[in-house]
């Protein structure tokens, strides 16, 4: 990435989502990438915490992921879900105790041997700009060991990005905006 081209225009600054998005951004079935009745539906859930370990009740999360076969889809219909079309994108406002839930499928590997992950974006009152991170599936140990991003992290940092598979098949990952177990948040090339 050494020859990342310079930007021609300077990006517009972000700002906090603030406290009052609740009547604007959530929509019906926003967190249902697939219907609960889908045979391979998976619950992705967790809790969002602040630097004191208190839950954050006013965060908004978005996920973006490949389908079960590892294909990146480009399909309209996220905002008006028909219950059949997988669009790969979902949104949810956390509940009063910081909890979030998505109904989705396990993303497939986008290339053979690649560790499958879900992209996550965090917005919150008090958070002045959005944060990006990845939620890796825990199963493919060889792929996780070969993942370039995970390889560049300490073991403790790595654990903040790898979801736990619970007994009921659900995926769990808590998000910590600050503190000892702070989630690893990402920057990408060409941000400024």
């Amino acid at each position: 990435m050494t020859n990342t081209p310079e930007l021609k225009l300077t990006p517009t600054p972000g700002q906090t989502i603030g406290p009052f998005y609740g009547y604007a951004l959530p929509f019906e079935k926003d967190n249902e990438l697939v219907n609960h009745a889908h045979p391979n539906s998976v619950r992705l859930h967790g809790v969002v915490y602040d630097g004191n370990g208190e839950v954050i009740p006013d965060a908004l999360l978005e996920i973006w992921q490949a389908d079960e076969d590892g294909n990146v889809v480009s399909r309209e219909g996220s905002l008006v879900r028909d219950g059949y079309t997988f669009t790969g994108w979902g949104r949810t406002a956390v509940n009063n105790v910081g909890g979030y839930n998505f109904t989705t499928v396990n993303p497939g590997a986008t290339d053979q041997g690649k560790a499958p992950f879900i992209m996550l974006t965090v917005f919150a009152r008090g958070l002045l700009n959005r944060l990006f991170t990845r939620i890796y599936l825990p199963e493919d140990a060889a792929a996780l060991a070969n993942d370039p991003l995970l390889a560049s992290l300490s073991e403790a940092e790595r654990q903040t990005l790898i979801a736990t598979r619970e007994a009921d098949g659900s995926l769990r990952l808590d998000i910590r905006l600050q503190g000892e177990d702070e989630t690893v948040f990402l920057s990408y090339p060409r941000e400024s």
């Binding site: 994108w89 990408y188 400024s192």
Partner: protein
């Protein structure tokens, strides 16, 4: 009578505006010294900005970790006419009557860092009404709700990245950051690019707002040129005869990574 000044914020910090402003000035002065010492200009808000009290426990303390974007990160969800009705960009026609306030049109383009239009993508906005009140159950500001104004709009950008909203000019409103804290008038904007790494949420402001200097959210952007990028321009060519005044605001997202990575791959 000032009996009502604290009614909104029994839990508010006791910091005064003077204290908050002094903290802002101090950070900005440090930034000016950095610039003089040759450091690169900042373009984004600081996430660690103590004058905005809610940020104290809600910002990462470690540096962001560099990631080379892969697959899913190089694409964005698709939105279109199936998702958004054309009428959703007019916030003044969502009820039976005309909303109270100054009717305005806000239009502009969504571009990426290479200057390319972001076409066919979702833009969402939300805002307070002409009295500074949100239709949100947690907004306790004792200003009137307008039964004819919800303050939520959506649009899909056109082929040149263009968008246009018809709405009502929002008013400033008080909040609980410190004693007698007021937000400058603003419209919240949510934007998608061609890569999901370009996803952003921000706020658009109006020119000449006297509250700019006092607002720790706006001033969390330490660089004046960067702050100016959040301020719309009054544009008489958008203003329409006997109907609405007009503002222009263009939004620049970060650079697409897919485009240049594909170009590089093509060279092999």
């Amino acid at each position: 009578m000032s009996a009502n000044t604290n009614a909104l914020d029994p839990a508010a910090t006791t910091a005064t505006q003077e204290e908050i402003s002094a903290e802002i000035s101090s950070t900005h002065e440090d930034y000016r010294q950095q610039l003089l010492a040759g450091k690169k200009a900042e373009t984004q808000p600081r996430v660690d900005f103590a004058p905005y009290r809610s940020s104290l426990l809600r910002h990462p303390t470690k540096n962001l970790h560099h990631a080379d974007p892969e697959t899913i990160e190089l694409y964005s969800p698709a939105f279109g006419q199936r998702d958004v009705h054309a009428l959703e960009s007019d916030l003044t026609i969502q009820h039976n009557g005309e909303p109270i306030g100054e009717r305005i049109v806000v239009s502009g383009r969504v571009l990426d860092g290479d200057g390319r239009p972001v076409a066919g993508q979702l833009v969402e906005i939300w805002q307070a009404n002409a009295a500074g009140r949100y239709v949100h159950k947690r907004d306790q500001h004792p200003a009137p709700i307008d039964p004819n104004f919800t303050g939520v709009g959506r649009a899909i950008t056109g082929a040149n990245g263009e968008y246009s909203f018809t709405t009502i000019k929002p008013a400033p409103y008080p909040w609980k950051n410190h004693h007698n804290a007021w937000r400058p008038a603003h419209i919240h904007f949510s934007l998608f690019g061609t890569d999901f790494t370009q996803r952003m949420i921000t706020q658009m402001y109006f020119p000449g707002d006297p509250l700019f200097a006092l607002d720790p959210i706006y001033q969390s952007i330490t660089d004046q040129d960067a702050r100016d990028r959040l301020v719309a321009t009054y544009d008489h060519s958008i203003t329409s005869h006997e109907w609405a005044t007009g503002y222009n605001w263009d939004i620049v997202l970060t650079g697409s990574n897919r485009t240049w990575m594909e170009e590089e791959e093509g060279e092999h």
